[in-house]
Amino acid sequence: MAEARTLRLNIGPHHSAAIGPFRVSVETDGEVVLTARPDVGYLHRGIEKIAERMTWTGFMPYTDRIDYLASIHCNLVYALAVESLSEIKAPERAQYIRVIAGELNRIASHLMSIGTLAHHLGAESALLYALRDREKVNNLFEILCGARLTYNYVRIGGVFADVTEGFIEKAYEFIDYLVPKLKEYNDLLSNNQIFVGRLAEVGVVSASEAVSCGVTGPIVRGSGLKYDVRKVFPYCVYHKLEFDVPVGKGEAGKTGDAFDRHMVRIREIEQSASLIKQALDDLPAGDYQTTLPRIFKAPQGEAYASVESPRGTLSVYISSQGEKHPFRVKFRTPSFSVLNLFPAILKDVPISDVTTILGSFDIMASEVDR
C-alpha cells in the first residue's frame, strides 16, 4: 500500500488574497487543507522603534502607514492617547470633523474589502464598481486635506485644517449618491446565487472562539456578538450620535460564516453614511484646533486609547518620560489577532475556500507587521 503523503503549499507572500505581502503555508492532502500556518513580517518596518526616535508630533505621518486603508483611525487613536496623557481637549468642532473623516474612511475601507473579496472569487466587475465609488471618497478627502490615501489629517489637539469650502455640500451629495448604490452591490453580490454559494457556511467562526483569540471588528460581529468600541467605550462624539451595530444572523446558513462578515460590512457602510449625515447636521461652529507649544513634550506617564477601525479594535499604548520623543509606543492592531484563528478555521477546508476565508477576514499585511 502506498504511503500517505501530504503536500506543503505556500500561498503568498506574493498573492492577491491579502492586501500586501502575506504568506500562509498550508499542508494539504489532495484538495483538503490539513493545517495552516501564517508567516508574516514581509512588511515589517519597525514603526514602534521609529516612534522612539521621533518627536511626539513628528511621529504622526508614520501612523498613517500602519493601516493605510484606515489612516484616519490610526491618526486618531494616537492623537487620542497623547491628548489623554497631556490633558489637551480637542475642540467640539474638531471632534465632529474627526467622526466625519473616520466614517468616510470606514466607507472607503469597506468598499475596498468588499471589492477585493469578490475579486478573489473571480467577480472582477465588483472590484471595478467598488473602486469607482472609492474614488468619490478620495475626492472628498482631497477637498478636505489634499491627500488621497495617507491623510495625516487628525493631529494632536484637533485636526490639521478646517472643513474647506464646498466639502459639506459635496459630502451630503456623496451620501445621497452612496446609499441607493448599496442596492447595486446587493444585486451584484449579496443576492447573487454564485456569490452566496461560495460564501455560505465557509469559514464559520464561533463567537467564543473569536473572543478567546482576541478577534474584533466585523469578524466578531459577524459571529453575532455586538461588540463595537464606538458603543462600549465611546470616544469623540459617538455617544451623541445614533447608530446601530449590525451583527451576523446566519442569513445564508450558519452564523459567523463568510457571508455574515460580508453583510456586516455592507450594513456598516449604511450606518457610517447615517453617522456622517448626523455629524454634518450637528457640526458646531468654533475652533478646529488647539495650539500646541512649538516644542511639544508630553508629561511623564502612560496612556492608552482605543478606537473602532474598519477591521476592529485599534489601540495604542504610549509611555512618556517627559521628553521630546515617546519612550514606548505600542499599537494593538486588529488584523494581528486574526492570525490566532488560522489553525482552527483553515482546517479541513478545500484549497479553493482558503482565498474566500482570507478575503472575508480582510487582513491588512501592513497592520499585522507594522
Binding site: 508574516v40 513580517g41 515589517h44 519597525g46 514602534e48 522603534k49 522612539e52 489623554s84 496623557l85 472562539e209 473572543v211 478567546s212 483569540c213 482576541g214 478577534v215 456578538l225 461588540y227 462600549v232 467605550f233 508629561p299 511623564q300 506617564g301 502612560e302 496612556a303 492608552y304 482605543s306 479594535t313 489601540s315 499604548y317 509611555s319 514606548r328 505600542k330 494593538r332 494581528f336 489577532s337 492570525l339 490566532n340 507587521d369 507594522r370
Partner: protein, 169 residues
C-alpha cells in the same frame, strides 16, 4: 468595577504577590503590579472569577524599562464592560515568563512578537519561532541598546546619500 476594587479582590486571594497600585498620572492609565511567580494563577483567576470575568486579552505590551523588562496585560471583559492592566517585571538578563495561551488563545501571537522584539522567552509556548523578522535575525530590536544591522544577507543596510548636505548627524 474600578481598578481599586479589582486590586482588593486580587489582594484578598493572592496577598503579597500583588503590588500596590501605581498611579503616576492621575488615573489615566492605572496598572496593578503582579509578581512573576504567581502571574499564571492571577491570570487564570481574572479569566474565571465571576465578578471579574476577563474574557478578552486585548493587548500585551512589552517594554524595555532599563534595569528590567516589563509586560503589561491589557484585559477587557466584554460581558461586564470593564478593563484592567496588569504589569509584570522580569529580569533583563534571564527573562523568562509563563505563557498565557491556555487562558486566552490571543496570547500566542502577542507572546511571539514580544519574544522576538525583547528577547523574553515564554515557557510552555506551543510554537516558539520568529514571527516578524527572518529566522536568522540577530538581536532584539525593541531593546533600548539595540544597534541597527550593517548588512543582511549581503544587502548593505546603509544607503549612500546623494549629496553631502543630506547626511544627518
Amino acid at each position: 468595577m474600578e481598578t481599586r476594587e479589582f486590586f482588593e479582590a486580587l489582594e484578598k486571594n493572592f496577598g503579597k504577590a500583588i503590588h500596590p497600585i501605581e498611579d503616576q498620572n492621575g488615573g489615566k492609565f492605572i496598572s496593578i503590579g503582579v509578581e512573576r511567580d504567581s502571574l499564571k494563577k492571577v491570570l487564570e483567576f481574572c479569566a474565571a472569577d465571576s465578578s471579574l470575568r476577563f474574557d478578552f486579552l486585548e493587548n500585551m505590551i512589552g517594554i524595555d524599562a532599563g534595569q528590567e523588562l516589563q509586560i503589561i496585560y491589557r484585559l477587557v471583559s466584554l460581558s461586564l464592560v470593564h478593563t484592567l492592566n496588569l504589569k509584570v517585571s522580569v529580569d533583563r538578563h534571564s527573562p523568562k515568563m509563563p505563557s498565557a495561551h491556555e487562558t486566552w488563545k490571543a496570547a500566542i501571537y502577542y507572546e511571539l512578537e514580544i519574544a522576538e522584539m525583547l528577547g523574553i522567552s515564554f515557557q510552555g509556548h506551543p510554537e516558539p519561532r520568529k514571527l516578524l523578522l527572518p529566522e536568522d535575525w540577530q538581536g532584539f530590536p525593541l531593546r533600548k541598546d539595540y544597534t541597527f544591522p550593517e548588512e543582511y544577507h549581503s544587502i548593505e543596510h546603509r544607503r549612500a546619500p546623494l549629496r553631502k548636505e543630506h547626511t544627518r548627524p
